[in-house]
């Protein structure tokens, strides 16, 4: 009975022609490299390659455009950019605004995150939803809202303050605040930088081991000392990531400076690039590309610093999950701390929305609001009575729905393929798709002009170029969302399906899709919100022939009324909130087995 070491009992030779034909998919097989691939994988790879092309080609065009002009090697774009009279002023302004707002945001965001994660000041849903703010209230709406509140003469809040001051005998004609100043500009940048810090630092605090803090306290360090010597240093990777995110966002942020910077006569890079491309005739593409290079340079430097930080930060301990830190009791500081959180919420969301609503319903912008006369008439007229606005809303919604759907479908398929096979090609494809995330939106938009606006594609001024640009710009985020959704589905779940006799397609439809739907829908909502609220790419790529909300807002800002502007910003906010909420509720319901399973 004893057989030594699995020596074969009989040797069977298979003549080549008797070998059954290998088959791995009902529709036959494809060959990529030397491996046979199922149709499902083939489609996934094909889509992925297409998306990778869309991501890489425009960026490559920007880089080539920097050094090649009219087929000859030259640094003309850089020279053009440098010869802009206020070149250094532009860079100085941009750096000042971004650095100042980021530094402040770093402090504020960290404090808010710490209050929410490690103390008893947290306020449940209110604090948890902080990072959703820029997601639901587009920066353009916030910027317009704050102009309506703090413009020196007609600002609603200034009006209220002046009325109050009048009562104590101080009478002012304007002010006391002015949004069209350096501090005004930095203030609104700050509002939109804080959520990034909050998001990253919260994640860092959640992942880092709370027993480090406890250890420090056991050693006799005070709470403050613990906070500064242990807690925050342990999250420095997250802080680094937050800084990178803020640089990346800040340098290409266009909506806030176009509204506030223009009024304050503070020029920044992003606004100038758009002006050179869209509002100069003929467009000065060379100079715009040159300035884009400066933006990339700044982001690149931050990125390098971040890498060094990551490398030196190896020691940061990430403890096991499920360790629950004992929340620090703030005692009499609890309510002041909560006031801080609520205050941020009020300033970032409530006040600007109130201002938008009041002005939109009032029909014109004044400090003497007749509260009894507020009505929807003006609102209706400026939105539904305006053909261009209606077109822009229709276009925006359909492009965003289409873009988010295509984006997430591609992202999900690519994630699946990447998870299953780790070949070079697949990895390169995945990297390429995520590449645009390290380039400012503005630069990619410029790349799209260079790549697709002219011959042979001739897509300039069409909705197609907008759709493609949105997909390229926002796919990295979609892809990350899909990756994490797919990673949650263990390998054995799909293998069990194959064992049960199901092929690739059926396994995808029955096992993967239902399990990743919640994550994918969340990603979809994210893409939709960003595409619908996009101003940066739209400013460069849209026009009268392919009107979208972002571009219409800029037009109205240039030559419409503030009430119209407020209405449009409100409509945008409403669409975003409604669609995102619907999508998330839907995802929740599809994933109801999750709730039932929690014991």
């Amino acid at each position: 009975m004893q057989r030594s070491k699995g020596t074969p009992l009989t040797r069977v030779a298979f003549p080549r022609r008797m070998v059954p034909l290998p088959a791995s998919g009902r529709l036959g097989t494809f060959v990529i490299g030397r491996r046979r691939v199922s149709p499902f994988t083939a489609v996934g790879v094909a889509l992925g390659v297409l998306a990778a092309f869309l991501a890489v080609y425009p960026i490559a065009r920007v880089i080539v455009g920097l050094f090649v002009t009219d087929g000859r090697l030259s640094v003309a774009p850089l020279r053009d950019a440098y010869s802009i009279p206020d070149f250094w002023q532009l860079i100085g302004n941009t750096v000042a605004v971004v650095v100042a707002s980021s530094a402040l945001a770093l402090v504020m965001g960290s404090v808010l995150a710490w209050l929410n994660e490690r103390t008893d000041a947290r306020l449940g849903i209110v604090t948890d939803s902080l990072p959703m703010i820029p997601f639901l209230l587009p920066p353009i709406a916030g910027a317009v809202g704050w102009v309506l509140l703090l413009s020196p003469r007609a600002g609603l809040m200034n009006g209220v303050i002046r009325a109050a001051l009048d009562k104590v005998g101080v009478s002012l004609n304007e002010g006391p605040f002015n949004i069209f100043t350096w501090y005004g500009l930095i203030f609104v940048y700050l509002l939109y930088q804080v959520p990034y810090v909050f998001l990253m630092v919260s994640a860092g605090l959640r992942a880092s081991d709370p027993s480090l803090d406890e250890q420090s306290r056991v050693c006799g360090a005070s709470s403050w000392r613990t906070l500064w010597r242990v807690t925050f240093p342990a999250t420095r990777q997250s802080l680094g990531a937050a800084v990178l995110l803020m640089m990346w966002q800040g340098f290409s942020l266009f909506s806030v400076p176009v509204i506030i910077g223009t009024g304050a006569r503070i020029d920044v890079l992003s606004v100038r690039i758009v002006n050179l491309l869209s509002f100069s005739f003929p467009p000065r593409t060379g100079a715009a590309v040159g300035l884009s290079f400066v933006v990339v340079l700044f982001v690149g430097v931050t990125w390098l610093l971040q890498l060094r930080l990551l490398r030196s930060g190896r020691h940061a301990t990430i403890g096991g999950k499920g360790q629950r830190a004992v929340r620090l009791e703030l005692g009499r500081w609890k309510w002041p701390a909560r006031a801080l959180v609520l205050g941020y919420g009020a300033v970032a969301v409530v006040l600007p929305i109130v201002a938008l609503v009041v002005v939109a319903l009032n029909g014109y912008w004044t400090t003497n609001i007749n509260w009894g006369r507020l009505s929807f008439t003006a609102f209706r007229e400026s939105v539904f009575g305006d053909r261009l606005t209606l077109t822009s809303i229709k276009n925006s919604v359909s492009i965003s729905v289409l873009g988010a759907t295509i984006g997430m479908a591609v992202a999900a398929m690519v994630s699946l393929v990447v998870m299953r096979r780790r070949g070079r090609l697949v990895q390169a494809m995945d990297g390429a798709i995520k590449l645009p995330s390290v380039f400012p939106h503005l630069v990619i938009a410029v790349g799209f002009i260079l790549a697709f606006a002219g011959a042979p594609f001739k897509l300039g001024g069409t909705t197609v170029i907008l759709l493609l640009a949105y997909i390229s710009i926002y796919l990295p985020q979609g892809s990350v969302a899909a990756d994490s959704a797919v990673a949650q589905v263990g390998r054995e779940l799909s293998e069990a399906s194959h064992v049960s006799g199901a092929g690739g397609g059926r396994t995808f439809a029955r096992v993967f899709l239902p399990l990743i739907v919640p994550g994918v829908v969340a990603g979809w909502a994210f893409l939709f919100a960003h595409m619908a609220g996009d101003l940066t790419a739209s400013a460069v790529l849209a026009g009268t022939t392919n009107m979208v909300v972002g571009f219409r807002i800029l037009q109205v800002f240039d030559n419409g009324s503030y009430a119209q502007l407020a209405s449009l910003a409100l409509v945008l906010t409403a669409i975003t909130v409604v669609v995102v909420t619907l999508a998330l509720v839907l995802a929740q319901r599809r994933g109801r087995w999750r709730q039932r399973t929690t014991r």
């Binding site: 004893q2 290998p22 088959a23 046979r36 054995e492 293998e495 194959h498 064992v499």
Partner: protein, 374 residues
């Protein structure tokens, strides 16, 4: 081993299977190294071995989830893998059942949908037929009332039963198990092991079962294949593996054993040999015919094979020892005994205790004393 009557059909035939993995550092390991065996219809084969020896990899290769780097696999007479000819039949066409260590139940499907899945994949059953079969198999595994539950709402033991039902529902001839009982507590494990054995004997499917628990292997297997770093080092019935271990590795991995070093003095034609050791000369059974006089060997015997006595026994295979400690374990008592520098273990079912520090004689049958290469 159940008597193997006449020629039985070969369900799986594995030949010279090699599976290599590239480690993260770039080095290559042979996770499965030239393995071959035949599995007969209705046979229960257990792959036994320590962690990392390649059991899971071998099982996954049979299932078609890994593609072997060498060798062939035939299932039901159909060539499923042949690296030479580039044949690889995908898992879904191999018509087998498999139970994963994590059960791999789909959390978004009810128990019914989970179990019906293999039938629906076949696309040849109507609704009624599916409902009937699912109900039957759920009753068989003892959870007919749970059809509408989601896996997340069930205990580990119940999930285990659902996974079993899903593997059996399509009536495959071959079911693969990857440590299915390692996630449930000891009592449920014993119960499930018993039920599984009964079910397998009743339904008559062939099974390949991976475990590193030797008592599980003993209780379930018709045959056990003991693996060591990718190779099968011994394959045979539980009794053969236990009583006739071919190497020290197998003897130590399956059950507990006592070892004495020694040198072969003379070899007898009947397969026995006498061995001199520091505690005397013993007659034992050779594990390999090529062991010759003068060889360094190890005598291995099981703790339950030592017969203690107070008076000097008549037999020759004996030595004198001191009882150092007694450990009452319920079904038996374990004694630690000492002879000079060597310590051995002795198991006795008898209620009458040997007192500590007592001087005793221990006799070990020549048949129970295995002579192995060191």
């Amino acid at each position: 081993m159940d008597s193997v009557a006449a020629p039985r059909r070969v369900v799986v035939s594995v030949r010279d299977i090699v599976k290599r993995f590239q480690r993260a550092g770039g080095s290559v390991t042979n996770a499965v190294d030239n393995v071959g065996f035949d599995l007969l219809a209705g046979e229960f084969l257990v792959l036994l071995g320590p962690s990392g020896c390649g059991k899971t990899t071998l099982l996954r290769t049979i299932a078609g989830l890994e593609r072997p780097d060498g060798g062939t696999i035939e299932i039901d007479g159909r060539l499923c893998d042949s690296s030479e000819n580039g044949v690889h039949v995908p898992t879904e066409r191999r018509r087998l059942g498999m139970i994963f260590q994590s059960y791999a139940l789909w959390p978004h499907m009810t128990v019914f949908d989970n179990v019906a899945y293999p039938l629906r994949s076949q696309r040849k059953h109507n609704k009624r037929d599916i409902a009937d079969r699912v109900e039957r198999v759920l009753t068989m595994v003892g959870i007919p009332e749970l059809t509408k539950q989601y896996p997340g709402q069930m205990s580990g033991g119940q999930q285990q039963r659902v996974a079993l039902a899903r593997a059996l529902v399509a009536g495959s001839d071959l079911v693969l198990f990857d440590e299915p009982l390692s996630n449930v507590d000891a009592r449920v494990r014993e119960q499930l092991r018993f039920e599984l054995a009964t079910m397998q004997r009743d339904l008559g499917f062939a099974a390949v079962y991976v475990t590193h628990d030797q008592s599980e292997a003993m209780g379930l297997a018709h045959r056990i294949a003991v693996m060591e770093s990718g190779k099968i080092v011994q394959i045979g019935s539980p009794r053969e593996i236990y009583d006739e271990a071919a190497s020290r590795y197998v003897a130590n991995f399956v059950g507990t054993s006592n070892e004495i070093r020694g040198r072969v003095q003379s070899v007898e034609p009947d397969g026995t040999a006498s061995v001199t050791t520091v505690i005397g000369t013993f007659v034992g059974t050779l594990s390999k015919p090529d062991i010759a006089a003068g060889d360094e060997v190890i005598l291995v015997w099981r703790p339950e094979d030592g017969e203690p006595s107070i008076e000097e026994p008549a037999s020759s295979n004996r030595f004198r020892a001191v009882v150092e400690a007694a450990l009452f374990l319920g079904s038996h008592t374990e004694y630690s005994i000492r002879v000079g520098e060597s310590r051995f273990r002795l198991w006795r079912a008898s209620r009458r205790q040997l007192s500590t520090d007592a001087e005793i004689w221990v006799t070990v049958d020549a048949a129970s004393m295995r002579i192995l290469r060191p």
